[in-house]
Amino acid sequence: MKYAWILSWLLLAAWSTQAATLVVKPGPDALRKAISSARPGDTLLVQPGFYREHSIQVDRRLIITGTGMPVIDAEYKHPGFLITADSVIMQGLQIQHTGRSSISDIAGIRVSNASHVTLRNNKILDCTYGIYLQNAQHCLLEGNTVHSGIKNEINGGNGIHAWKCDALQINSNSISGHRDGIYFEFVTNSGIEGNLSANNQRYGLHFMFSHHDTYMKNIFRENGAGVAVMYTREVTMTDNTFIQNWGDASYGLLLKEITDSHITHNRFIKNTIGIHMEGTTRVSVQRNLFQDNGWAIRVMASSSGSQFTGNNFIGNSFDVATNGTLMLNEFHRNYWDKYDGYDLNRDQVGDVPHYPVSVYAVISEKIPSAMILYRSFLTSIMEQVEKVMPSIIPDQLKDDQPLMKKLEL
Amino acid sequence: MIRINHLTKSFKKFRALDDINLQLERGQTISLLGPNGSGKTTLIKSILGLVIPEKGSIHINGQEIRSHWSYRSKIGYMPQIGRYPENMTIRQVLAMLREVRRDCKQYDEELIHQFDLPSFDHKLMRNLSGGTRQKVSACLAFLFSPDILILDEPTAGLDPVASEILKDKIARERANGKLVLITSHVLSDLDEITSHVVYLQEGKLICFKTVEELKESTGQHQLNKVIAAMMQTHLHENNY
């Protein structure tokens, strides 16, 4: 009788406080049971240990906090978490080993039709998709580590995958070893800041139809094909680093059908192609550093109205390459290390224009095999001859005001 | 000591040596004579293994020289033109040859002292006169006390004093029982020291006789006259 009284008192206490804290310890279906017994607003404190659970649906507003990195293992068969409620916070969990399937996209954490979800400081290892957002709004992904060691581009999934989302904030995550590091399709008004996307098999960042997004201070390193952005308008890319994206079809940044966008103060270092532009309109490329790339910029003739201003071109094999003779983009006041003109009036602007397309860039564009003679004595002679009697280089492609000194960026 | 059998050598169409047979022995000093292009140098170089014979064989001390190279330790060679690495000193050249000939323990430095080489052996080879270079060549030929000495135009370019010193040296070595083979254009030079004469013309061996035999047969007393007489008779023969 006495016990019953205490029990009822406890129950009453539980009902009366708005948010209770439940401690979850490893055991059969521990998480699932805890979630189903929790009430919206409760906190689940997940204790360290190994939880062999999967397909865990979070369908109410919970704060799930791992202490000491508890491991949730889906045994290579199943998905991890599915969040369908708004305002869920999940942090400090390690989710690993989801299954893989060619029919459905299996993810470590999937957020579906929810908003204001926060995923913070989780580790998602060897999952087909790391974090999968569909129809999500105002979500924050911060400080997560998403890594896959499985090399399979065809069945592999993306690290952070977002589809039809709005106002996401993706900050300070580290993504590696996936197909695409960050993948956006129809994601608008979002900010991507301070992430590291490295060693992914295809693109470090890949987006399509994702307007009004801002990318800042991210690092895209050693991805199979660099970064590709397509069919999008009003993109802002600032302070990002594109480094060592090497390979036969690898770009620091591939721009395809991009309109009214700004690429400012980024660093493109040691990429096969720094920026490749195809069908772009009114893209401003300002104050970027292009260093030690194979081709710093490759502008296809289908691009127009772009401005290249105040960039540094240093140590690239080719600074600019193009496939046509027509050039509807403008180069102004850039620093070119290959410029060998003079500055008689000492205003730090060269007195003769610089033609950044080299003869050999044009020749090897037409006949790739000719590349084998690149930098031979013969080709140096050809460059000199071209300088005296221009005949191959498109003559509108020039910088009328090349800077004499490197810009401090 | 040196036995040459049917030695033949052609350079393209030109026949430099034509079926030469010779037997040279210890204690002989042989003057190798003949007009320019008669094959003297080719014969010497064949013995040294520098020219590879086309036919025939050369034996030194009973051993065939082809495909061997160690026999050359018994030979001292003084080339016609002595040219040395420009930036080496005389001392370095001597030291180098000594190192190359590690097999030799007993040095004959008599000539080095007689020519007074040590007093200027710090000089670079490129600064030496032709005569001084000849002196170096001569010293090198005798340095390793070889049994056979092959001297190609030894006195050409030497001043009379040095020339006398060298001839005395040759005479002494001959007395020691060595075989000396000399080519020279200046016939009178060889007068006093020669014991045998080999006369070559157009690659053929015309005669191999002692000086006495030659003098007797031609009735001349001076060697250069002997030779001149011989050349004439030979030319005479050729004309018919």
Binding site: W246, G247, D248, S250, K270, N271, T272, D292, G294, W295, I314, G315, S317, D337, I367, P368, S369, A370, M371, I372, L373, Y374, R375, S376, F377, L378, T379, S380, K406 | K9, F11, K45, L48, G49, L50, V51, I52, W69, Y71, R72, S73, I75, Y77, P79, I81, G82, R83, Y84, P85, E86, N87, M88, Q92, M96, E99, V100, R101, D103, L140, I150
Partner: protein
């Protein structure tokens, strides 16, 4: 053999031409690296210097040296020495002297200043070019009896490999650009040590461009360590084969 190498070196390290060669290389290197603040531009100039100067100087100097020391060689061959040892020793001596000149003139500065894989590749290819072209000079020396002809042959050889060959190759590429010519191109390139040296450096210096290259075979070749191994192996062949030929011919040669 060691003795001869030693004395050839003693002679050559005091040689005026070698000293001037070292000095010119050093001055060029310092001016090139000092003028441009960025590495790849300096490296590019140094690559051009290396590809142009090293072959011509190496082959010309070695040829002249071999012919000039013909009489001394004769004297040495009258000593109990194998012909092969004599020939290889003087080759080793001269290629070491020229190689040291290159290392002192270019190598030290570049390695200290740049200290990158490309710099190491440049120095290695410069040294290999020295070894190759002095080996070719040795071959010329044993083939030709006459000094004037030998020098002529040396000049022609150097010009052929530095300039003419690439011209012919470019003509070939232009006329067969519609066909798959990657494989024959690789084979042709192997026939020119100067091109091999250039590619060895390029693989490091312009790796990005080389890997962006669109031919499948090249991609495989350029993109992996294979490219470097292959070019180095080919260059070593370019050194060893002339040496073997020279020794063979020299064995039968009348001096």
């Amino acid at each position: 053999m060691k003795t001869i190498i030693k004395y050839v070196l003693i002679d050559l390290l005091k040689n005026r031409t070698i000293l001037i060669y070292t000095l010119v290389l050093a001055v060029l290197t310092i001016s090139v690296t000092g003028m441009s603040d960025n590495m790849s531009k300096g490296m590019l100039s140094l690559l051009n210097i290396t590809l142009l100067f090293v072959p011509i100087i190496s082959i010309l100097f070695s040829t002249i040296y071999f012919f000039n020391s013909a009489e001394f060689t004769e004297l040495l061959l009258a000593q109990p020495i194998r012909r092969k040892s004599m020939l290889l020793a003087s080759y080793t001596g001269i290629s070491t002297a020229l190689g040291l000149a290159y290392l002192a003139g270019v190598g030290v500065t570049v390695c200290v200043l740049y200290n990158s894989l490309a710099a190491i590749a440049l120095v290695i290819s410069g040294v290999l070019l020295t070894l190759i072209f002095s080996a070719l000079a040795l071959l010329i020396f044993v083939v030709f009896k006459d000094k004037t002809r030998g020098i002529g042959a040396a000049i022609i050889t150097a010009l052929f490999f530095t300039l003419l060959f690439d011209g012919l190759l470019l003509a070939f590429i232009y006329s067969f650009s519609d066909y798959p010519i990657d494989q024959p191109l690789l084979a042709f390139i192997s026939l020119n040590p100067v091109d091999l040296a250039r590619i060895l450096v390029l693989l490091q210096l312009d790796a990005a461009v080389m890997m962006g290259y669109s031919g499948a075979l090249f991609k495989k070749f350029m993109g992996s360590a294979m490219g470097t191994i292959y070019t180095t192996a080919c260059m070593l062949c370019w050194m060893i084969i002339p040496l073997i030929l020279a020794v063979r011919i020299f064995r039968k040669k009348d001096i």
